[in-house]
């Protein structure tokens, strides 16, 4: 390999790692679930050595993501989105506002613009990333992140989206945003640029922590299988809140239905999804073959697999929330005063948080069909029945959007050469570490707990014969249904099937309970 191609290859590798590191820096200081543990406690990982900035373990979400920057020349746009419920509207929409837009780009030029060797580029990138890290803490959005990260009950959520394009801001939006551009880093065939448009002030959003609801941890938070798996995932760590969105008083107790989630189709584009790259709209094929991670591979996301038990605790048969919803919509808290029509979780069922009973799942789906569909924006996803695999992929509260990174053979061949570099440049990216999928463990959930939960749900469902004691207990423990569950579109035929199975089970259990009485 001649010198020029080595130089080129190394520059490409540096650029690729730079993009990944930038993404890590931005998300770990805006998305609470990305935040690693105490930094002093972890061993230095290979990813830490890149740019000499140890950020701790990359979220497992990174590993399974397709880092779509197969084409390094495409910009990486990271939107930090503030999600709030609309005031005064019980059935209101969730308002999303982009409070920061980071654009990281390798502005490639065929003609060699500078004589910068990859070593100098690397050294300058180190400094740029330090500045980026410091800057993340100086911008207004940092305090919103801190509120969320502290686990305070907040009336907002922070979501994110990563893509190669972005819907341009409206004029009014641009007027309230400020632009900051870092001084670019020269490379041999271009330059690395990082810039951000950010809202100067977040006072308009009245970001407050609610004192009403103590934060709780939803240990078994799961995203919705029926929602677009490629959407930006809610970024907050699963927090068990008794009221979810109701804590802020934005949704009245009379509203049994979760607020509709509207998203513009461009907002959660599928470009961030591995499987959707074929129709991401750019029509750009990459120069390197992407490594795709199908959700069916049960990516090793740490959060538990889907548990509908959480959803059972919701006031209404809340359909599986869209991924972007915060976990707090799925509060399984037994003392949730907002839950009224769904039974409280039994202790057993709460413990077996890794359930993914198909029966329960099907029940949930039927409920969803009753509640109705809501436009979920991008509709290119298919609702798959194989939810366990997909769900596990969605589980990570830090999970989506999926941005994996593809590996090319050319990188592997550089390993030995890079090891020889005398400046502190780490070598190639490690192979992705995989761990046991939580899905396989979830299969061992207690059947009894599932049936018990089912029974409670059936008992409190309107058409069923209601046991007064059970109802009052459920109502006492659940609050007015101001959940902010989200709807998603379902095929009618699927829903009917589910309803039939639901009805069948209902009859079965009713008949059994008649015997026992």
């Amino acid at each position: 390999m001649d010198l020029q191609s080595i130089e080129h290859g190394r520059t490409d590798q540096i650029v690729s790692q730079f993009l990944l590191k930038t993404l890590h820096i931005v998300l770990e200081s805006r998305v609470p679930s990305f935040r690693p543990g105490p930094l002093g406690s972890h061993q230095v990982k290979k990813s830490d050595k890149w740019f000499n900035l140890a950020l701790g373990e990359r979220p497992t979400a990174f590993d399974g993501l397709n880092f779509w920057h197969r084409n390094l020349m495409e910009p990486m746009v990271i939107d930090i989105i503030l999600v709030q419920g609309q005031n005064g509207s019980g059935y209101g929409a969730l308002v999303e506002t982009v409070i920061e837009r980071w654009v990281v780009q390798y502005e490639y030029s065929r003609v060699s613009q500078s004589s910068e060797s990859y070593k100098k580029t690397y050294k300058k990138s180190i400094i740029l990333l330090r500045s980026l890290y410091a800057m993340m803490r100086l911008l207004p959005a940092y305090w919103a992140y801190r509120s969320k990260a502290k686990g305070k009950a907040c009336d907002f959520d922070i979501s994110y989206k990563v893509s190669s394009f972005s819907v341009p801001f409206t004029r009014s939006e641009e007027q309230v945003m400020k632009l900051y551009s870092f001084f670019p880093v020269e490379a041999q065939h271009g330059r690395l640029s990082v810039s951000v448009r950010y809202r100067e002030s977040l006072s308009d959003f009245n970001l407050e922590s609610s004192a009403l609801c103590p934060p709780e941890i939803i240990t078994d938070y799961v995203g919705s299988p029926a929602t677009d798996p490629f959407r930006a995932f809610p970024t907050s760590f699963p927090v068990r809140r008794p009221h979810s969105w109701t804590s802020g008083g934005q949704f009245t107790s009379q509203n049994p239905f979760p607020p509709a989630y509207h998203s513009s189709s461009g907002r959660y584009d599928l470009s961030s999804s591995p499987a959707a790259s074929s129709y991401d709209g750019y029509g750009q094929r990459t120069t390197r073959p992407p490594t795709r991670h199908s959700f069916d591979d049960s990516p090793p996301f740490s959060p538990s697999p889907p548990t509908y038990l959480n959803m059972q605790s919701r006031p209404v048969s809340i359909p599986n929330p869209l991924i972007t919803r915060t976990p707090r919509y799925l509060s399984p808290n037994l003392s949730d005063p907002n839950r009224h029509s769904l039974p409280p979780l039994s202790p057993r069922s709460t413990r077996s948080s890794h359930e993914s009973s198909p029966a329960i799942r099907s029940l949930k789906k039927s409920e969803m069909s009753r509640v109705g569909d809501l436009s979920s924006g991008s509709t290119n996803h298919k609702v798959s029945k194989d939810d366990s695999g997909r769900f596990s992929g969605l589980l990570s509260s830090s999970g989506s959007p999926r941005i994996g990174f593809s590996r090319s053979s050319s990188r592997l061949s550089l390993q030995d050469e890079l090891d020889d570099i005398d400046f502190s440049c780490p070598f190639i990216v490690d192979d992705v570490d995989t761990c046991d999928s939580p899905v396989s463990q979830s299969g061992k959930k207690s059947q009894d707990a599932a049936v018990g939960a089912l029974v409670r749900m059936l008992r409190t469902a309107p058409p069923l014969r209601q046991d007064s004691s059970c109802c009052s207990e459920a109502e006492a423990q659940s609050n007015g249904g101001n959940t902010s569950g989200l709807f998603m579109s379902r095929k009618t035929s699927d829903a009917l099937e589910e309803l039939k199975s639901y009805t069948g089970i209902k009859h079965l259990i009713l008949s059994k309970s008649k015997h026992t009485l």
Binding site: G40, N52, L53, K124, A134, L138, F182, F183, S424
Partner: protein, 218 residues
């Protein structure tokens, strides 16, 4: 090699704010000059809504605090003066040892001047009559004034941090090769001076001569 000099915006601080302000500024600079492997450490200021980043080196933290203590002592001894901290990074050039000299030359390649204007406030225990009057009669306007002053300082401190980030990114060519060590990558020194010193200007002048920065010699 040229020496890049950065004069940071002057800050009007009160006595009790010195430590936090200096820690914030110095550590932000050091974070950009500790180019070996670091585990960044976020630190929240208590007096301001600002979070700065340390490079996580305990030794450096200790040295910085020592210097700040020295600065505070100096401020106490020389009140009502403009005070300056100069953080310099240099390369060590060993001059050939002769019978008479064994000099080690410092070749400065970067200098940061932190300018603080410390408002003179008598210490709580001074017990002077005019001071006690001040204390006993704060009034709403004084409190508003204090808040306004605090907000201005916070904003100025923000500006200084932005100034540092801008400078470190625009000027990179003068940085020597990064040695493979943890903590601050380059030898540095922190010197303190006040406007009343005859040496205040001389120190700066000396360094300018040493570094041979062309613009400084005009």
């Amino acid at each position: 090699m040229n020496c890049e000099v950065c004069q940071l915006k002057e800050l009007d601080v009160e006595y009790f704010e010195i430590r936090e302000v200096l820690r914030c500024i110095l550590h932000t600079i050091f974070f950009h000059r500790a180019l070996g492997l670091v585990r960044p450490k976020d630190v929240d200021l208590t007096l301001f809504e600002i979070t700065y980043v340390q490079c996580g080196d305990a030794e450096l933290e200790k040295k910085v605090d020592e210097k700040i203590d020295q600065f505070i002592d100096r401020v106490e001894k020389h009140p009502n003066k403009k005070n300056q901290i100069c953080l310099s990074f240099f390369e060590v050039k060993n001059k050939q040892a002769t019978w008479f000299t064994h000099k080690v030359e410092h070749l400065y390649w970067e200098q940061w001047y932190i300018n603080l204007n410390v408002a003179h406030h008598p210490k709580p225990h001074s017990g002077k009559s005019h001071h006690s009057k001040l204390v006993l009669d704060p009034g709403e306007s004084a409190s508003d004034e204090r808040n306004a002053r605090r907000a201005t300082l916070e904003s100025s401190l923000h500006e200084v941090l932005f100034q540092i980030i801008k400078f470190v990114n625009e000027k990179k060519d003068h940085i020597p090769p990064i040695p493979n060590k943890e903590g601050v990558s380059f030898p540095y020194e922190i010197t303190i001076s006040s406007s009343s010193d005859s040496a205040f200007g001389m120190d700066m002048f000396k360094r300018m001569l040493q570094t041979g920065h062309p613009t400084m010699l005009s």
